[in-house]
Symmetry: C2
Subunit: 810 residues, 2 copies
């Protein structure tokens, strides 16, 4: 397969002030202002000003580059794509009978021209767009969306005509909601409509953006010669005018400020910020990921100053490196990213809810976004038990809510007293959050033992895990469990391992269930009391990216549900529930915070276990990766536990921003979008990367085997697993790839085993033809993981796969 | 004082389909489309269609109402404000030499016209705006902002000219980010630019909004007669065209759908939602606050169907009530609201960050919004101890972080082992959140005793409170403490009570300090161990809106800081810190989640105590009331406790959306706005409501006495406190008003004492001349509280004050 092109680094050089000129409308004088700015800049930096028109429409004689050539002959200028018909570029391109340039081609060429300008010592570059901010580019994407990955700072040319106030403010807002920095608004001064006067005040008050007014150019003369003469004079005068040179000074200082801020942010951060999960004494400014912006799967981050200039750069004496590089967000920003950074759909969903409601009180209240999200989630889960949605802010609080629900239900049914503290049944290495209640659901470890009020309550099973080892898909049984559970077993494919019903027909579950039941019986005899089962279905994330044998988790649920005798209070009776959707044994809590909502390729990760939770917790991808929100879903039977005539029996838990409309609207948009992608076959390319091939002995089950798949190609996984000198095993499921490296020190979470591979990915490729790029990623002890989003492309995956192969070999 | 006018209820009647027509630009054919829609509607409902032009500019002969009269004679039509000069309304109004109508006048008159239409049985109303969406109205506010409180659903007339694609999309976005529902986009079909074709596809894909195209009207003829003839024919044909009637059908069904959704939401919510802090078995659908939207301080909520029609309504046989009413958000949406619901500045801040970053990984990362917010908060606190900002999602998680910080610091300095569990020193009735760690900071109570894993760890002092009782400002000493602290004492004003340094000079603190020290000595002798002090400065919120004597909290901090001997591990030595900003005795944690950031009138509520915390927690108002975010600020000395070469010594706490850019950008905007309001004297009107008057014996201190003030007038507070048959006492500070009602049952949080007053406020005024309105509020047991925002107007406060006086007398 040919190497895909590197991602795009946003152009930013200290020496080059590059600005993009957008118009509030068509025919508002963009080219006049470009010419003026270029001439004014050239007064300060003669011979060092460039002008680029990526797309131009209309006859040659009226082309903007001609205008520039005529009136600003010392300004270099270039047009990338010229169409002669004076219509929108998307129509002109279609009518031209030439190949329609892709958005990427346009961005890459614009970026290349900027790089060239920087390399030959230009100081200014003005990139002029066509028409209004949302006028479509050749591909049909509107320019505001198309150019967003470049995120050049903007000069907006306002509209001085009747209606122009509205046009200018709306155009500004369309740019603003896409994260552009509009540094200056320019428009003609005109007496009748006085748009300049209004807008100057408006932008100062609302946006702290300066507005500059310029007198209108002289009327068009009948002779070309005369026309050129009066226009030349106009430009000559206006480009020297203090208002125009003031704009240039302002743009210059904003450029310096942006770079200074980028350069000082790491130091400032280490002085002011207290980072989560970070030993800051081990960090220096160069370890801080300074993020200028993010788009799709990539951050734009400050390139470390130590980066060597690339070959092409160093050929010029006035060379300077691009200050930004594209960084693949390999941790999916702590596992939250789904629909890509800065997705305009999510932005507009957030803004709509903010504009309609702000936040509104939710206790005994209801609003559409919460109502629709609730029914969408309950339907999407396809779990007949779940009927209720409780809102909180993050996975940890959602787990605390789930615990309060589950423990109360068990306590009341079995008649435990307040003093008889109930523990949870879980798995070793689990992680449910950092608030004390959530921490107490995990067993003591190096991670939580230093936290003062931590007090783990429960029993945590060890379990078989799934890994691809030396090309083989294997269920690995921990040494201590082999007597009870048998030896490691190889399967033909991951799908075969996940065919839990097929494996049950072969009796694979029998030893699992016996072991679980015996353990629980022993604990009961020891007087241990339990109030809930809490597990992360299929993958234990923060605990070290362990892919659990799904059959083991299924066996755990099945044993618990069949065995109320193991959990009842001795010598007391209890009422067995009559409803088939009521919990039995113990309430089963599934923590899908990380694993749910398509992270592992399916709406609900519990579907891999082919069983249904009584309580299910969802966060992270819930909002597609934009804002915090968590939902704890519960069964009617659990809900009824809290129902009485006594107010104090209620679930007394709540957060100020419970079900905040912004989060709910964004979540609704995200969940609907992911459902649409799922049903529309958006991930067929990924599924066909070897994942549908099975060993052939898979038994038909509810979920077709083909639904066990990953964004990461099967051959990549199997190939990497063959590097047995370094790799202990590897797995991929959904958008997650986890490489377990061999770790001689055995220090688990605090191991450094994966660090060198990580360093290689972070160093990345400094010589990318579209600028430097790298892979930002996190490790969990000896595990290096990479996580894609739901919109990550095949090309991105291939590119990162290649780099990973390289770095693992080093 | 004359009664201020009631707030505005958004117009919504089942029988009247009211739509607002916005234009993507000026001269896009708004009036042609209005005429077409009116005619098409009139075909279905002859004689029942109305047209309103709130503001019209241009000569009479070209006025839109004339056009309507001519071509749709059966449509009633009205213009509210007509200006003859064809310029933007803000200029036309200024030049007219007539009184410029206020935004409120325009909204009220528009609403009145709609009400009139509903009352006389009209079925359709089209309200046409002037120019583009952001064209300024007469007052200068842009129309998109000005009309937002009405939130009429919108028909957007798109622009079919060159550049019109951009104009239409941007106009749509400006409406969308203000929470408008654009139900239909209409524009002329035109072959050259094919905007219709592009936009139909664009809106279907991105916004699920239908776009209808209509052929262009015939060219203007030279004779008026001929012109009228061809236009009449055009309207006749086009108003019957299936595309036009399709739009009418669509608008009709969307109207029905909106109302049906509003009517079914309460029932649906009680079926799907699990509410926080709510005994749902006691709720029926009528108790659910169905929120259609919110603006400023008011929700627009569904009027209960039981509401009696007002006098004016019932005079007509075809009467129907407005389905919505304005509800003052009297709990400030669980104490979060500051800058008003749907504040466009906050919306655009959120959207900008979403468009620039989405969410980006924060561990070892930095972005501008987090960097700027951190330095703004650290500076704003004016606390020389605080140097570090840790981000989390809500008050409860922020408190867990603070605890982990404080307890670790105490443990390490005093050499406690992991097994020697440390408690907190706090106040009775405190509340710090609902996660288990935060709950464990509060003493056992009816509130938390039923939560399974709750395990309170600490000692909680009883304390004197402040109340205005029968017109007197009093420090109330609980009976049990009178021997130690003395009797109740009356002061001339609240400012006198808050003059803590002045009172210290008089020796008021001596008994407080002695009592606190003796208590702590006794506890030490009992072997109790403490790791932090945690208090809510000045006001204990959720615990029952207790205003604590600030001198007592100050004494607590001072005693603890002077007395490391009370907290050290027996028979061990410890190193006293040398830095003056290091903690001594115990780390002092101030929970300012509710009290901080101007809720009580000052940036930091700790300033009332004239002391500085070592750790300070901020949420709620931090984002002005939009999205969840919390910051835990800490001193360098506390931070250094976690610094070592060992990764496991780090503060191992984090949330996926830590420092999410949307929250940080919104918080930055909010905090800066509140600082600006503070420094600009925005609350001078409130301060002058009797609060600056002191008894005259206040001793000069750092904070002038005048800074103890409330949004609620002092005479209201003192008057209400004289209703001694029902009112036990009352206080107001900042935007909070708390009325402690006499409670015979003594059931505290679960008391029903305040319920009847609350019911009276919720019933509100069904006969408001601008539609029904009420006050939505919450009670805490026997305490009824009302909370304003930072932008609440004097008029709003006066209006609610009046209603409150009335309801308390009933």
């Amino acid at each position: 397969m040919p190497q895909p092109p590197p991602p795009l680094a946003s152009p930013l050089w200290r020496s080059l002030r590059a600005y993009q000129i957008f118009g509030a409308n068509t025919e508002v004088g963009k080219t006049v202002f470009s010419t003026l700015l270029a001439k004014a800049a050239a007064r300060r930096s003669p011979g060092a000003v460039a002008f680029l028109k990526p797309v131009s429409t209309g006859p040659d004689s009226e082309a903007d580059d001609r205008h520039i050539t005529r009136f600003a002959p010392d300004v270099s200028n270039k047009t990338l794509f010229q169409y002669k018909i004076p219509v929108s570029p998307h129509i002109a391109a279609r009518l031209s009978n030439r190949t329609i340039p892709s958005n990427e081609a346009l961005l890459f060429q614009t970026r290349d021209y900027a790089a060239q300008c920087a390399n030959i010592g230009r100081k200014w570059l003005f990139v002029e767009t066509a028409g209004g901010v949302h006028s479509p580019g050749p591909s049909g994407t509107t320019q505001a969306d198309m150019y967003a990955p470049l995120r050049l700072p903007v000069v907006l040319v306002g509209d001085s005509r009747l209606g122009g106030i509205s046009q200018t403010i709306s155009a500004f807002e369309s740019l603003r909601v896409r994260g552009y920095d509009v540094e200056s608004v320019l428009l003609f001064k005109e007496d009748k409509y006085q748009n300049y006067e209004y807008l100057a005040e408006y932008f100062a008050e609302h946006h702290d953006v300066p507005v500059a007014g310029v007198i209108e150019p002289p009327e068009r003369r009948s002779s070309l010669e005369e026309d050129v003469r009066v226009m030349s004079q106009y430009y000559e005068e206006q480009s020297q005018h203090k208002d125009t040179s003031g704009v240039i000074s302002h743009l210059e200082s904003r450029h310096e400020q942006r770079i200074d801020q980028l350069n000082s942010m790491a130091t400032e951060a280490l002085r002011n910020i207290w980072y989560p999960f970070t030993q800051q004494s081990l960090l220096s400014p160069k370890d801080i990921n300074v993020i200028d912006s993010a788009h799709g799967d990539y951050f734009q981050t400050l390139t470390p100053s130590s980066a060597t200039p690339s070959q092409s750069d160093s050929s010029s004496s006035s060379s300077s490196s691009n200050l930004l590089r594209a960084s693949f967000d390999g941790s999916a920003s702590w596992w939250t990213q789904g629909l890509g950074h800065a997705n305009p759909k999510l932005t507009l969903a957030a803004a709509y809810a903010a504009g309609r409601y702000g936040h509104v009180m939710f206790a005994s209240g209801i609003h559409r976004p919460a109502a629709e999200l609730s029914s969408t989630l309950l339907k999407g889960m396809q779990n007949p038990r779940l009927t209720r949605v409780f809102f909180s802010d993050n996975g940890s609080t959602g787990i605390e809510v789930a615990l309060k629900m589950g423990l109360r239900a068990a306590k009341l049914r079995y008649g435990w007293s307040a003093e008889e503290k109930l523990g949870v049944v879980g798995l070793k290495g689990s992680y449910h959050g950092d608030t004390i209640g959530a921490m107490d659901c995990s067993e003591p470890s190096g991670y939580n033992e230093k936290v003062e009020w931590y007090d783990g309550k429960g029993h945590w099973f060890d379990y078989p895990t799934v890994l691809c080892v030396d090309g083989k898909w294997r269920v690995n049984v921990p040494r201590e469990l082999r007597e009870a559970l048998g030896e490691d077993a190889d399967f033909g494919s991951l799908s075969d391992i996940f065919d839990v019903q097929g494996r049950e027909q072969k009796g694979h579950h029998v030893r699992y269930e016996a072991f679980i039941r015996e353990t629980l019986e022993r604990l009961q005899k020891q007087g241990r009391r339990f109030g809930s089962v809490i597990v992360e279905p299929v993958v234990l994330g923060a605990g070290g990216m362990a892919l659990v044998d799904p059959l083991f988790q299924r066996a755990l649920v099945n044993v618990v549900r069949k065995s109320p005798d193991l959990f009842r209070k001795p010598n007391t009776s209890f009422e067995s529930p009559s409803s088939p959707t009521a919990w039995t044994g113990l309430p089963i809590i599934f923590d899908e915070v990380f694993t749910g909502l398509y992270r592992l390729g399916r709406f609900s990760s519990s579907s891999f276990l082919e069983t249904h939770a009584d309580i299910s917790v969802h966060a992270k991808l819930l909002t597609g990766g934009l804002v915090p929100l968590c939902t704890t879903l519960a069964s009617e039977n659990i809900f009824q536990t809290f129902s009485s005539q006594d107010k104090t029996d209620a679930l007394l838990h709540g957060h100020s921003y419970t079900a905040h409309p912004v989060g709910c609207q964004v979540a609704l948009e995200s969940v609907k979008e992911m459902l649409k992608m799922d049903h529309g076959g958006s991930w067929n390319w990924a599924k066909s990367q070897g994942w549908t091939t099975t060993s052939g002995d898979s038994v038909a089950s509810e979920q077709p085997a083909a639904d066990v798949w990953s964004t990461w190609p099967r051959d990549l996984v199997e190939d990497l697993s063959r590097q047995t000198d370094r790799v202990a095993g590897i797995w991929a499921l959904g958008s997650v790839l986890a490489i377990h490296l061999k770790d001689a020190s055995g220090t688990g979470y605090f191991s450094d085993a994966a660090q060198s591979v990580r360093d290689g990915l972070i160093a990345g490729d400094a010589e990318g033809v579209n600028g430097p790029w790298n892979v930002h990623c996190r490790v969990l002890g000896n595990v290096l993981y990479l996580m894609a989003g739901q919109k990550t492309t095949e090309e991105s995956v291939a590119r990162i796969g290649s780099l990973l192969r390289e770095r693992l070999k080093e």
